[in-house]
């Protein structure tokens, strides 16, 4: 047997199906038996009924055939026509009965059909032969009565008429008559009883009669007639015998044979049908007995099989399942299992056993895993405790670091503040050139140091997540002014061209952190200048609305230089902290390597990012983006409302036009653009109310255009110049010569508008003072609360320079006392960290003592926002980060204090 078969047969499912199949089969068998028995019973019954009918029919047939024979015999004797019609009636009846019998016979019963066919055939023969007999019988009558007797009578008549002449003749005549009579008698006797002796007697008598007759003396005519008549008599008698023999033969032999055969067949049929009837009855009886027996046996078999199946299932299924169930119960109760029964079985029980084994095994594994997990869990808990401890420590450490940073910031800034302040003051004393130069460098170094400290501080803050981005409304114009002021100086030192372009539609007011934006841009621009030896720095600022926001604006600034550039490897790490393009960079260019890292972090904090593309020795482009928003009403940065200007003429050298065409496009006038050389030709076209802008690249060009410009001037046509950053003095020269506005790169859109409005102050000669000089003089009395003597000195000097008087308080306690005692201070400058009472406390106390409106400005080396917030929360009005610079101080104080007329100082 094939393996698969064994596998299949061993499956309980298959066994169950098989068993079910056997039971169903038994049921079907029983049903089949019952049905068959019923069918057989019905069939036998109907067969029996048929047989009875057939037997009756056959009996009738037999009766009728006998009747036929009887009638034939009667006819043979009497030749009565009524017998013939009687014969036909019986024949018709027999035929109908035969047909009925044929109908009743099973079509497949060839033997019986043949028998009936034979009967029919015999019957047909019988009928045909009877017809012949009827015909012969009537012919015999004709021959005998109409021919023979008449002919013989004719002979008698002839003999009667004979006139005998002699006694011999008389004797012969008498004998002839006698023999003729004998012949006639013989003929009658033959007709009555057709036997050969009468035939012979007739022939003998007629022969003698003829002989005797011929011996008489007849006339020739009569003799002929007599001879012919004797011949006819002899022939007719022969015919009579032949006909008689024929129909006798037919009746006695042929028809009798047919009838007998018919009867034989009918008898056979009868006995056969009778036999069948008996058989049918026996069959019914036997069938019933057989069915009963079969039903009994099949019932016994069914019960036995059912019992066997029950036993089989008990033994093969229920018992093993019970065992397996107890095994599973034990497994479920975690009891130990020694042995699992039935594992070697091939059926579902075997599978269950193996499953139990697997379950058991898994149970053990689970237990092991549980204990291991418990162990791990306890270890985890311990680790978690350690971790939270470590976390707390780390948090404490971070806190400490923040504290440290704050402290360091304060601690480093305070002396630096002092240094810078003193350098500032020193610059205001009379110095020789060499001293001033040293002082200048000293000041620069201090500032670098300060910015380095600021960088580190910023980075630390970012690292600690303590850096907060402000969102305040600011003017982009001041952002640009600040930026350009910062970078122009440095660019000039390296004779670099700086081009600044702002998309004209940029909102002039934005919400964001201008300080940090400025820090980012300044950083990038400073870098660009730092790494560029010659060429130009291009700063381009564009914007676009942020999708799905009402006021969101994304600002993108590209800073492109023509510097040393970077390769792929360098680009990959450029934004990492403490990384520069390579190690040598810091040696060549200096810097902490924190700048770009700070840029990256800051832009990300401002919802933007930074990217760079660069080609070594060609240049780099840094692109930064910021996600900002604009206030509800924020006009475009380029806003010019010309009074009555008709047309703006722009003469430039294409494609290096110094004025971005997008600026021109944004202006609300007609713009006509021509090469510079066209200026002369176009002069006549220019109206007095028109505005003319001329690009001047260098002095040579200026010289070339001088005559045309003069023409313009003579015609009182307004014109202005645009120059590049280099050459530096070109702008001044042009301004001085033509008394008109000159736009030198870099310039802001605002400056363009001012130039067009003729408000532009050309102040290219202004140099950066090392120490800022106050531009204004203020009025007021200030209380300076500062514990550090140097700072007291520096701040005092600055206040003095601003034209202010002041008192000094050494700490918060003193300050409170002074204010309470003499409440006439215009403003209080309050240091935060002081002995005895710090700035916050002092401020709160002052407010509590009834001075809610007194202006208090915090001073602290803590540059962090939280410090500022804290100060404001304590009740201060403003906050200033140390080291204090004159400009900042001036800006702050001028917000609150009235201005006095400026005092010119040397």
């Amino acid at each position: 047997m094939p393996d698969w078969f064994l596998l299949v047969i061993r499956s309980l499912r298959v066994q169950v199906f098989l068993v079910l199949g056997v039971l169903v089969g038994l049921l079907i068998w029983q049903g089949f038996l019952a049905r068959q028995a019923q069918n057989e019973y019905q069939q036998s019954l109907s067969q029996g009924q048929q047989a009875v009918l057939k037997v009756n029919l056959v009996r009738e047939l037999e009766r009728d055939v006998l009747d036929l024979q009887r009638n034939v015999l009667i006819f043979k004797e009497t030749a009565s026509p009524s017998v013939v019609s009687r014969f036909d009636l019986i024949m018709a009846n027999i035929k109908a009965n035969l047909a009925a019998l044929t109908q009743m016979v099973d079509n497949n019963d060839n033997e019986e059909l043949q028998r009936i066919a034979n009967m029919q055939s015999h019957l047909n023969d019988y009928q045909v032969n009877f017809s012949a007999v009827v015909m012969d019988r009537s012919r015999r009558k004709e021959v005998f009565e109409d021919d023979l007797l008449l002919e013989m009578d004719e002979l008698f008549r002839l003999l009667e008429r004979y006139q005998w002449k002699t006694p011999q003749q008389q004797l012969t005549l008498t004998e002839a008559k006698f023999y003729l009579s004998r012949a006639k008698t013989s003929a009658f006797r033959y007709v009555l009883s057709p036997e050969n002796q009468y035939v012979e007697a007739f022939q003998q008598a007629i022969s003698v009669a003829r002989q005797q007759t011929s011996e008489l003396a007849w006339s020739a005519e009569l003799r002929d007639t007599i001879d012919h008549t004797f011949e006819d008599v002899e022939n007719d008698f022969f015919q009579l015998t032949q006909i008689t023999r024929g129909y006798l033969y037919l009746v006695n032999v042929v028809m009798a044979g047919s009838a007998n055969e018919f009867l034989y067949l009918a008898k056979q049929l009868n006995s056969l049908e009778t036999q069948r009837l008996i058989e049918a009855n026996t069959h019914i009886k036997q069938g019933l007995e057989k069915t009963n027996r079969q039903m009994l046996w099949s019932s016994v078999l069914s019960i036995t099989i059912a019992a066997l199946i029950a036993l089989f299932f008990g033994y093969r299924v229920m018992l093993p399942i019970k065992r397996i169930t107890s095994v599973f119960n034990k497994l479920a109760d975690d009891e130990n299992i020694d042995k699992i029964p039935g594992r070697s079985r091939q059926d579902e029980i075997g599978e269950l056993s193996r499953a139990a084994a697997v379950f058991h095994h898994k149970n053990q594994q689970t237990e092991e895993l549980l204990s291991r997990a418990q162990e791990l869990n306890s270890r985890q808990i311990a680790m978690n405790q350690e971790l939270s401890l470590a976390k707390r420590k780390a948090e404490q450490a971070t806190q400490s670091k923040s504290m440290f940073l704050a402290n360091m910031s304060h601690e480093i800034r305070t002396p630096m503040n002092g240094i810078i302040g003193l350098l500032d003051l020193l610059g205001n004393t009379p110095l020789n050139d060499e001293q001033r130069e040293f002082l200048k460098k000293l000041s620069l170094s201090s500032q670098i140091l300060m910015s380095l400290i600021n960088d580190i501080l910023d980075f630390s803050k970012i690292e600690a997540g303590k850096l907060h981005i402000e969102t305040i409304e600011f003017s982009v114009q001041s952002l640009f002014d600040n930026l350009l002021a910062n970078i122009t100086t440095r660019a000039r030192e390296k004779n670099l061209n700086v081009h600044f372009f702002v998309e004209p539609t940029l909102p002039s007011l934005l919400n964001g952190d201008p300080l940090r934006i400025n820090q980012v841009l300044l950083n990038l621009c400073t870098n660009a200048i730092k790494f560029t030896r010659n060429g130009a720095i291009d700063i381009r600022l564009e914007h676009q609305p942020i999708p799905d926001t009402e006021h969101g604006v994304q600002i993108r600034v590209d800073v492109t230089d023509t510097g040393i550039g970077m390769n792929e490897t360098q680009l990959a790490t450029i934004f990492d902290s403490f990384t520069q393009a390579d190690g040598s960079t810091s040696r060549t260019y200096g810097g902490t390597g924190l700048g770009l890292a700070i840029v990256k972090n800051l832009t990300e904090l401002m919802g933007g990012g930074v990217a760079v593309t660069s080609t070594p020795n060609v240049g780099s482009t840094f692109s930064v983006t910021f996600s900002l928003s604009r206030p509800d009403k924020s006009p475009a940065v380029l806003q010019w409302k010309p009074t009555d200007k008709k047309t703006l003429w722009y003469f430039c050298k294409q494609p290096d036009a110094l004025l971005d065409t997008r600026y021109l496009d944004a202006l609300p006038v007609e713009v006509k653009q021509f090469p510079q050389a066209e200026l002369g030709n176009r002069c006549e076209d220019i109206d007095e109310r028109d505005e003319v802008i001329i690009d001047i690249q260098d002095l040579e060009q200026h010289l070339a255009l001088k005559a045309q410009i003069e023409t313009l001037q003579q015609r009182s046509i307004h014109f202005l110049f645009v120059t590049d950053t280099q050459p530096l003095n070109l702008g001044q020269l042009l301004a001085k010569k033509w008394h008109t506005a000159v736009l030198s790169h870099p310039f802001t859109p605002n400056q363009l508008v001012q130039a067009l409005d003729r408000n532009l102050q050309t102040d290219s000669s202004a140099e950066l003072a090392i120490i800022e000089r106050p531009s204004k003089q203020l009025e007021g009395h200030v209380l300076l609360v500062e514990d550090n003597a140097i700072n007291q000195l520096v701040a005092g000097q600055m206040l003095t320079r601003l034209g202010l008087t002041f008192d000094v308080a050494e700490d918060g306690q003193q300050a409170v006392t002074k204010i309470v005692n003499s409440p006439h201070y215009s403003i209080v400058l309050m240091d935060i960290q002081m002995p005895n009472m710090d700035g916050y406390q002092a401020t709160r106390m002052i407010r509590e003592r009834g001075f809610p409106d007194l202006l208090i400005c915090g001073l602290s080396a803590n540059a962090m926002q939280e410090d500022k917030d804290k100060a404001l929360a304590a009740g201060m009005n403003d906050y200033l980060t140390k080291p204090i610079k004159l400009v900042q101080l001036e800006a702050l104080l001028s917000k609150y204090l009235p201005q006095s007329p400026p005092v010119e100082t040397s």
């Binding site: 023999r245 006798l248 006695n252 032999v253 042929v254 044979g257 009838a259 055969e261």
Partner: protein
């Protein structure tokens, strides 16, 4: 020259001329418009194969009208104009002759007259042969001076001698042990008590009556002076016995045709009965072991007669003579030999029979091979031997010929009583 070789030569001879010419060549009259020859007779000789062959050979139209013995005899005797040739048995000759329904046949026009054997010419095939009771054919063949029929030879004959045979009874050797020719086999078996209810007799008084008479004699129940011509009293006594037997259920049936006799035996209705040779042949062909007895009392002989209608003349008579000559030309004799019949000039038919066939059918020798009947079926198995031996031996043992006795009409009456009892 055997049949095959003859056919071959004939085929070669025909190769050069047209098939039609070849067929018609030997017969002069056939060149004229075909004659329709009407033949009245029984199924024994009016067989379709013979008709087709004869038409083919003679180029004439043949119309066969087979019928029952009595019916055809009556028709022939009373209406000679309804047929040209009449084929039946010798026992009908007297009636026909006396009724003037047939005309004498001119011996000179019978092409093979000289080949016809002595059975019909003198009544004795062999010198020590029994002549047999009843109407022996030689007594009826010759037309005498006084227009009667007798044994003296003249130039005219009443019938053409052709088919003949001896009959007895057949029995099923599955039931009845086979006996020995002429030694144990006896007509008496027909009346044997142990076969009661399984016996049948042919339903014809001119035939069956002699079977029964021979049986009664063999059993010793009756003795007859002339079994071929029973007297009335003899018939009365004889039928008394027979009717008693019939009423005792001894006889099962009376068959009227050869197929019916075959059916009787085949169906088991009978185990012993009067038989004709073709019936035996057919049963053997069907595998039923029917044996044709060779009774020690001798056979019942019969002789076929071919008679010329008294109304036939001219071209029809010429054609009738050619048909008669064709019957003796060999092939028809061979054809009927395969059914167990003999022809009056056997030597000519020998050419158309294989040696095995000749030896079996005529020689009485065991069959050297299986032999086929006229329908192509094997009817004789190799090794079988015809009961009763050779042609000569069988015809030397004829007890009685089929006859129309003077008491014919009376016998009909008795016959009716017998079979209807």
């Amino acid at each position: 020259m055997d049949n095959r070789r003859r056919t071959l030569i004939k085929n070669i001879a025909c190769a050069g001329i047209s098939a039609t010419a070849c067929i018609k060549a030997p017969y002069v009259f056939a060149r004229q418009r075909p004659v329709t020859l009407r033949v009245l007779g029984t199924h024994v000789t009016l067989q379709e194969s013979l008709r087709q062959r004869a038409m083919h050979d003679l180029g004439i139209d043949l119309q066969f009208s087979p019928g029952g013995s009595a019916a055809v005899l009556q028709q022939a005797s009373m209406r000679p104009q309804s047929f040209d040739l009449y084929e039946q048995w010798s026992n009908s000759i007297q009636v026909l002759w006396r009724s003037g329904a047939i005309q004498p046949i001119d011996k000179k026009r019978i092409r093979y007259w000289d080949e016809i054997n002595n059975l019909t010419k003198t009544g004795k095939l062999t010198t020590d042969a029994r002549v047999g009771f009843g109407d022996a054919p030689f007594k009826l063949l010759h037309v005498q001076k006084k227009r009667t029929l007798g044994p003296d030879h003249t130039g005219q004959i009443s019938f053409l001698p052709y088919v003949h045979n001896v009959d007895s009874f057949g029995y099923n050797t599955d039931v009845i042990p086979a006996g020995e020719d002429y030694l144990t086999e006896s007509w008496g078996w027909l009346l044997d008590e142990q076969y009661r209810g399984k016996v049948a007799i042919v339903n014809a008084p001119t035939i069956g009556l002699f079977d029964l008479a021979l049986a009664l004699q063999a059993k010793g129940l009756h003795t007859f002076d002339d079994v071929g011509s029973l007297r009335k009293d003899e018939l009365d006594a004889m039928f008394n016995t027979l009717i008693a037997l019939k009423q005792a259920g001894h006889f099962n049936g009376f068959w009227t045709s050869v197929p019916e006799s075959v059916d009787y035996m085949r169906s088991g209705r009978t185990i012993i009965q009067s038989m004709f040779s073709p019936g035996i042949t057919q049963l053997n062909g069907e595998g039923i072991p029917a044996r044709f007895a060779a009774p020690k009392e001798g056979y019942r002989g019969w002789h076929g007669v071919m008679c010329l209608s008294s109304a036939t003349e001219g071209r029809h008579r010429d054609a009738a003579y050619e048909y008669m000559n064709w019957w003796l030309s060999g092939w028809p004799g061979a054809f009927i030999a395969r059914q167990g019949y003999y022809i009056s000039n056997p030597a000519r038919s020998a050419d158309y029979l294989s040696d095995a066939e000749w030896d079996y059918w005529y020689g009485g020798e065991p069959a050297q091979t299986d032999l086929k009947g006229t329908d192509g079926q094997i009817v004789v198995k190799r090794g079988q031997r015809r009961t009763g031996g050779s042609y000569q031996k069988r015809f030397s043992n004829v007890a009685v010929w089929n006859s129309v006795m003077p008491t014919y009409e009376y016998s009909l009456q008795k016959w009716y009583e017998f079979i209807s009892s």
